[in-house]
């Protein structure tokens, strides 16, 4: 396509593409090719469709789209114009789908979504419980467009925000609109984006940078990955609008090395945008310049922290730097230039705000947290995956209505929000409405959007240990509170979970935690103790059971508890005797019993017993060192 030289040419192109692309009568299959669906065979599916279409002489348009969010049920695809949604699709289903749906206009029931085997299958995507309560704003184009094709993005209305801004808005107008919309940063801190942009704008320097934080290091979070892989142009357009508003001519997208598909799709998107004249020098003939480049991370969680990210971009160790100077000021950004650093999801919301106006954005969500948020709902829920919901929705709705409730219908225990920086919430918080401030008030935080659901078989002490071992190994080592403090906390947790907890350990953890939070240089250290402190706050009894009773009620920690065979329930099958590697299970004439002197509490017997006759109980409470 020829380079566009004016906003008018862009609008004409958009109009033409809108009419020509995704025609309502064309036979079409939109197949999700996100990382998860690719892993379950999406590309094989596409190959099969192409083969079948050729064999039957059918004209079939196949669109390889980005992540649709319902990763548990992949590979997923949508058939149009019948508007039927298929899940867990296998290549052998393809001829049937083609015959039934595409040529016969009937759903192929075998691959339709069903809540459970007794319920009626659901053919329309928006009727599926997982999607019903979602409102897709940042993920608006995921599942709709091919991320490697800029024409698709233009056809669904993309770059409309940029067109409006360059045609009829001054940089200050754009800034005012984003400010008015109260767009808060989606990376975790929730800092108002408009305010940040104003800071950068007020710094005096000819050279300014607009930067996107695609490091997404929180384990359990993949929101930004889906946007970068599935709709890279929304990120580019958001950054371009920011650059226009603050007067930046250079852009850097920092993507973690572990996202190669995101890097690839972004490179293709940048190239296509440059070819069309939507990036680069003299964009659309308006004199606005923006040079975009990508920098990869190299496996360091701390580089998601703003100042550490800058250090990494400069080629150094990812050490955070003290502030002031802030990134938005001189000496604060990369190579000393002022920079605006926002999260990927934040930028993805900007084009919609600029094109449709702040009021529309404000009409969704809560007063202090307008708009939507993308969550990565994972853990012990039936439907795991990516969900985007309006702010203000309750945890109960997310976990039960969208998530389908707890896996295997077990009991809900807790939900961890905000990844390793966040805290856990319990049953009493289920009706809390989710937004930036409400979660902070109860000691947790929304963070970047990771939401891990836990059931009765999750040990909260083990969870705290898990998160802390992550932050401890990712600690950059620069400041003693974090470097030494997290190691000390981890040692105590290791002792507790292996049955060597001592009286005073809980208090030590609390004191250490508070000191680390007070003394750490950056956000990593500042929030590393959160999982420990919140689990102590809400599940103190579990800690006490580990320490004083040497007992783990979730039977997750090895080496704890007293194992006993409940004789009336035992069917004398002998499987436990085979399973025990320590010869601890002995026989009398009529029963089996566990010899406590030999039992290593490895739980092998518990896992093989068919009648659950082996019970794990507390030891009699012992007098511990005072």
């Amino acid at each position: 396509m020829a380079k566009l030289n004016s906003v008018t040419e862009l609008k004409e192109l958009k109009e033409r593409l809108q009419a020509e692309t995704f025609k309502p009568d064309t036979l079409r299959a939109r197949v999700c090719c996100g990382t998860a669906c690719t892993a379950t065979g999406a590309h094989k599916l596409i190959d099969r469709f192409e083969k079948e279409a050729e064999a039957t002489g059918t004209e079939l348009e196949i669109v390889k789209t980005g992540c649709q969010g319902i990763c548990q049920k992949g590979p997923v695809l949508k058939v149009e114009p019948m508007n039927i949604f298929y899940q867990r699709t296998k290549p052998k289903n393809v001829p049937w789908i083609m015959n039934y749906s595409m040529l016969g206009n009937m759903p192929f029931r075998q691959a339709l979504y069903r809540d459970n085997i007794h319920s009626e299958p659901i053919a329309e995507m928006d009727e599926i419980p997982f999607y019903k309560k979602q409102k897709r704003l940042a993920l608006r184009n995921n599942g709709v467009v091919d991320p490697c094709n800029i024409e698709h993005y233009l056809a669904v209305g993309g770059y409309g925000g940029l067109a409006r801004a360059l045609e009829s808005m001054t940089p200050d107008d754009v800034l005012d609109e984003v400010d008015k919309a109260n767009l808060r940063g989606r990376g975790g801190a929730g800092f108002p984006a408009g305010k940040k942009w104003r800071h950068v704008k007020s710094s005096i320097n000819d050279v300014k940078f607009v930067m996107a934080n695609g490091d997404e290091g929180d384990p359990g979070a993949f929101m930004d990955r889906s946007i970068m892989e599935g709709d890279p142009h929304s990120l580019l357009e958001g950054m371009a609008l920011s650059a226009y508003a603050i007067g930046a001519e250079y852009g850097i997208i920092y993507v973690r090395h572990e996202y190669p598909l995101a890097v690839k799709h972004l490179q293709i998107a940048i190239k296509q945008a440059e070819e069309l004249g939507l990036l680069g020098k003299n964009i659309l003939g308006t004199g606005f310049n923006l040079v975009m480049s990508i920098r990869e991370g190299a496996g360091a969680f701390v580089c998601g922290e703003s100042t550490a990210l800058i250090a990494s971009v400069e080629g150094e160790r990812g050490f955070p730097r003290p502030r002031p100077p802030r990134l938005s000021e001189n000496e604060g950004g990369p190579w000393g230039y002022p920079a605006n650093l926002n999260n990927i999801e934040t930028y993805a919301c900007v084009p919609v705000i600029v094109e449709d106006g702040a009021d529309k954005f404000l009409s969704v969500g809560t007063k202090n947290s307008p708009g939507t948020k993308v969550f990565a709902l994972t853990g012990k829920v039936k439907n795991t995956g990516l969900v985007e919901v309006p702010m203000g929705i309750t945890l109960r709705e997310i976990i039960y209505d969208i998530g389908g409730g707890i896996l295997d219908d077990k009991e809900f225990k807790a939900v961890q929000t905000g990844g390793p920086s966040g805290g856990c919430l319990t049953k009493e918080h289920l009706d809390l409405s989710v937004d930036f401030d409400s979660l902070r008030e109860v000691g947790s935080m929304m963070g970047s959007g990771g939401m891990v659901v836990m059931d009765e078989e999750t040990c909260m002490v083990d969870v705290a240990k898990f998160f802390l071992s992550f932050t401890q190994s990712e600690s950059c080592g620069k400041c003693p509170p974090c470097r030494i403090g997290t190691s000390a906390m981890l040692d105590i947790l290791e002792r507790i979970t292996s049955g060597q907890g001592e009286h005073g350990d809980i208090e030590k953890l609390e004191e250490l935690g508070e000191n680390i939070i007070a003394g750490a240089l950056c956000g990593l250290g500042n929030s590393a103790p959160n999982p420990v402190l919140t689990t102590i706050k809400y599940f103190r009894e579990e800690y006490e059971e580990h320490i004083y009773d040497k007992y783990c009620r979730a039977t997750a920690c090895s080496g704890l508890g007293k194992f006993r065979i409940e004789n009336p329930e035992c069917i004398l099958c002998g499987l436990c005797v085979d399973a025990c590697a320590f010869g601890a299970i002995r026989e009398t004439r009529k029963t089996f019993y566990i010899d406590q002197d030999y039992c290593e509490k490895c739980k092998a017997c518990v896992s093989v017993c068919p009648t659950e006759a082996i019970k794990v109980e507390k030891h009699k409470r012992q007098e511990v060192n005072k």
């Binding site: 290091g217 080629g315 990812g318």
Partner: protein, 168 residues
């Protein structure tokens, strides 16, 4: 290698000094070297030092900070078990232990015949398919006994991973 400076920085290079560019290109340079050699050989690092006029201490300081870079040769297949939150909660430890037993090495080690290196990684981003592992570029999700066997077979026989083809 100095072509690399232009390639990596493009027009941003216009506002940077030579020294800033030489330092800023390091991570990219390491990634190129590791892609070719599977680790960072000593001679290559020394070449970087000369080429970009940087002290070895600075280069090592950066290279050793990031988990991605290795200084000893690695296996033909890099197996990464995801130990992110979602995978942990769905049994990542069992998968790790299974592979440690099967190949008689511990996490972080390489088998003697350089067939496989076993590591853990923070989060791959496929949390909906927990527990997840990658074998080079192939992703294996929802790992159960059957998938474990497939993985072990692919590693031992240097095959690429093909998932179950119930294709007629």
């Amino acid at each position: 290698m100095s072509l690399m400076l232009n390639e990596v920085f493009g027009e941003i290079g216009d506002v940077l000094s030579e020294e800033q560019k030489q330092r800023g290109v390091l991570i990219h340079a390491f990634q190129q070297i590791q892609e070719e050699h599977n680790y960072l050989p000593q001679e290559e690092i020394e070449k970087l030092s000369t080429e970009f006029n940087l002290p070895m201490s600075f280069i090592f300081s950066t290279a050793t900070f990031y988990k991605q870079f290795y200084f000893t040769p690695r296996g033909k297949k890099i197996v990464r078990i995801c130990t992110g939150t979602a995978c942990h909660v769905r049994g990542a430890t069992t998968v790790l232990n299974g592979l440690e037993d099967e190949f008689d090495i511990k996490e972080g080690e390489t088998t003697e015949d350089l067939a496989m290196t076993l590591e853990t990684v923070g989060c791959i981003g496929c949390c909906g398919l927990a527990p997840v592992a990658t074998v080079n570029e192939d992703i294996v999700g929802e790992i159960d006994g059957k998938k474990m066997d497939l993985m072990v077979d692919a590693i031992k026989n240097d095959k690429s991973l093909t998932s179950d083809d119930d294709d007629e």
